[in-house]
Symmetry: D3
Subunit: 245 residues, 6 copies
């Protein structure tokens, strides 16, 4: 499979958009950052609540949950706020569940007491790839928060078993591209999100045909490209975290 | 990778649960069936509504949408109805979106006028695999409805470009099993749903680590097993449809 | 008052539609059945929940409640789901309250501990008479569940003091008909639902003028016809329950 | 059947509570009144809205609808407002539907243009019998509004075909009482509401066993008593309307 | 600044509309009244609830809260009920918060046990000034309720530290008017509500430019006029309370 | 009235917190900025929607509306999102209404076609003064958007008649302080928000006693201090806008 000969924005087919990060953007969160992947911008904040904070959850006490939402001006045209529409945005719910599931797969909460960890991913600007950027950001924000909790003695051992990062791969007419932006994403045949560990094992794979089905061989090519992408993201965060502290 | 030496219910690792189908269970739907996969039972109905039936959708007029829900007594303990809880069940929303997306990928609605096709998947009984059973059932119900619409002249050519079927594959300690039931599913390390065409191309792959990450090689094994599973489902429906008409 | 000389469907004025029943359709309920009265089909399931399961009820602990709803494809055109509309369906609420009230009138819950009994009546297909069919079905499902609870020692004496059955009587131009279907019901002057015990005493009478008022003498005729109808229903269930076990 | 020898409040078994009325309590309604039946007090207002005012009704244009609600301080303890609870009060919905149905049975709206008539019944104080008092009041308020609309030329002929009034009859241990107050109502075996025309024909009968079933003969006694009650209410309003204008 | 030479309703610029009051309109409230200011009519009721009565409040136990709402027929055209619209009326929420805040500023609840005081202000008729009339009425209703609670020993010392009254001042083209009615209010440049104590100290000032900004000097003039207005209201209630008891 | 001798954070009584601004933080909005006032941080975005975008508004077509909300991590403890609570946050509604009202008072929309202008104020971090900071930011964001619309020919003349800015003044024991932060605000006797034009005329004044009433003389002192505060804000934005372009 060949690359798109010319991505209109001059990126190579296997090139991520420019990454940027600003750490600790919320004074009141235990871990937070603004993660930018091209024009896609995610604010991620990790906080801790005592006991059962969610309405009528009735589940066991230690828990980690994620909430994904868009600021109204994150899109053109403006997105209607959840609280002003007739009910919660269904896409937000699906993505919130995906983020929460991915984090639960790599967390060992047994040493956490009667707390709920909430990971808020708020999209400041959406140019495709918001769900994968949210997951990459969440993993880092959780690492930051974990350091705070260890220091304060709220936990006595790390809860994050594996770091994760995620990328989206687009597929069109036998061509694959890493990390499509909205203009690219909207013409893809298929679009698959990979959530991977540092050793490239799978935490979640989720995606499908937007227009046309795709072969197993195509999925294999997507996986290989995703491995490159997450590698770069892991490296980026390692480098910036060192620089930041 | 080896099979589970002994599935407690005596099924082989690559054996589907017993399939059954009852066609046309709703007199008022254009296509409907009760699809049973072991103790999992799905009622699927396809109906046609004029124009924009969903509240404030504001989208283009021809559309296909899916709604997945559970009857309260489908589970033990009983499931609270959506309309009686504080807000719509988030799992139902995620699965409804998955079903709708899969169907849209294989439908060409350009010849459908200003109609909305609604595919209702109501779980009569849940013993794992309800989302994949819903998708397999939906594909068949849509075929039945399509025949009715062609006959009535509502459409002049088929809208379903490809038949699809779906299965879930469980993975635990290097062992794969096809179509886990609830007792099996609840102890899996990972669980992946495959939605495939008759030629085994991918419409959607969705799933992830419940407890532990898994390798690409494992996913490959899952895909191979899924191909076997959907093959059997396609054959089952072909055989029963013939018998039925 | 004379009968309709010729009901278009050849039924006599005092003839019920064909009754059918399938017991124990839900593996996870303590009592359940599919009750068909002509094309009207009700799935009824009785389950037991610990303690106060309803949101903010604040009432005494032992309780029996009913929930009536329609599957979307039960009607033509398709019915919008409660959870997808702006608020709960008002007709469903009224009928749920009627069923619950009728059951509470014939239950002695004093020997039931801190449990809520929920009776779910889900309309698989609606061709008029769904509320009365739900009540007849609920009485039987409760009897089945009661047998299970007695066996398991959850209760030590029956809770159902009286069996009940219900029928609808239509009235048009001085003519009465038992158990009208939708095509008949939609042209009636009045329509009264009778919920009766085996000794034909009244549990609830509810109904009224759809188009024109009616005399006390007409109501008397309706009661007489209702007595015949419920007699037949009681007999039907006795016979089938015997056959089933 | 004998009367209660001594109603604690000295009323005879067939005696209504003291009736009072204040006409035209709302300057902005076309017909309104405060109707008091003992300590039960209902404010009823009839207004006209252009076109389809209800959210997503999608029904034919001329329509009459009723809304019944309680002021928070109408009861002890205080009733939570609908808008402040998680969803609309179910009892209010049931009663609103009853009032609307009764009014529709006696209205001919064919001469009304594209208007919705709304009848608001707000309970200022609740001491049992609020639904029957609401119906009696609604019939009168509608008569008042009709006079206004005729005068303004909004309608060219009356829309109310029959006046109606309603009373509740309580039944306990073979004893009947007319118009029970809350202290009486709460100990009844059964309680039936009768909505009758001036000629004592039935518009709706609705009620049932609160504790024990009752015989047809008992219902007959209730009807006779209800006829007395509504007679008195019709007379009361005729007398006061004359006095008022 | 000069007065409006001729208010169309012949009131002087500094003249309140005619005040009327009916005490104790709710038998089930501890303090209540109907307060009329011209055609604006407010029913105010004060009740006491045990413990935390509001849904998920999670605040300290003793509390005073207010709820403001309109009866549907209070306005022309009719106001849609909160429970029948897609969400609570935003204006009602704003005014409820204002009333609650004003009362909390003058209450010392330290001697109140685990109770919530609820002040319901229901607008029977709206002709402008409903929020200020509600506050004046609430202060009096609370005084009445306080007397009851002292007598019953629910509290051992008064909770109301200061009586308050409120008026609205309209401003148009350098002219001020006290207590504008709707026809006046709707043409004002600005409109300010003053909530004052008997010594004319400020509890809350709230208001602003409807059409054009206004100077500090204008606000000063409004305050002076407001002092006259509340003086008259305090006097009115003193006089009528004496007359009433 | 004297200043607080020593504000714990070393600010003078009449000193604003440090102001910062970042313009154009949203690529998809017509005007936007991040406005920081000490630790209080507001993201403000102005967008234009065609026609009636709000659900069932039914008002005249040109309109300007504001929506104020908090990001969950803006506070400690974390704020529950609107869409996850039982209904919209009442404080957010009150503040959204205040911002919208203030903007409408200084806008002339007559030259705007069938558009809705939406001003989103999202609190990134809350340390008191979020509503006044939102208003100051909104005025600037609207100016930026207006320049874009003029350039694009969407409007042919400015719609903003006056620039506005807002500050909060705290009052405690005869001492006034400008722009209190949360630690100061939470111990105030009273707290008043002033929304002023460049010529110091009033657009809205809103505030009241948190603990104790206050005199007219105190309000006068607050106004004087507010004039200083908004002067400084107007100067700050003029300077930074020049620097930015």
């Amino acid at each position: 499979m060949d690359a798109l000969v010319a991505r209109k924005n001059k990126r190579a087919f296997n090139q991520l958009r420019r990454l940027r990060v600003t750490y600790n953007i919320f004074d009141f969160a235990d871990g937070s950052l603004l993660f930018e992947c091209g024009r896609t911008k995610i604010m991620c904040a990790v906080t801790l609540q005592n006991g059962v904070t969610q309405f009528m959850r009735g589940e066991k006490s230690e828990w980690i949950t994620a909430e994904y939402a868009m600021l109204p001006a994150a899109t053109r045209p403006r997105t209607v706020r959840d609280a002003h529409g007739p009910r919660a945005n269904q896409r937000n719910i699906e993505i919130s569940r995906l983020i929460g599931r991915a984090l639960r797969a790599v967390c060992d909460l047994s040493a956490l007491g009667d707390y709920t960890i909430t990971v808020d991913c708020d999209v400041l600007q959406a140019d495709a790839g918001t769900r994968t950027a949210s997951i990459s950001a969440a993993s880092v924000a959780l690492t930051l928060a974990q350091a705070v909790w260890l220091k304060k003695g709220i936990i006595t051992k790390p809860i994050l078993k594996e770091k994760i990062a995620a990328v989206s791969i687009g597929y069109m007419q036998d061509t694959l591209i890493l990390d499509p932006d909205y203009s690219e994403d909207s013409v893809m045949d298929a679009d698959v999100n990979f959530i991977l560990t540092e050793s490239k094992e799978l935490i979640e794979v989720q995606g499908g045909a937007e227009r046309n089905q795709f072969s197993w061989k195509a999925l294999q090519g997507m996986y290989d490209l995703a491995c490159q992408g997450v590698e770069e993201i892991f490296t980026f965060f390692e480098r910036t975290e060192k620089a930041d502290f």
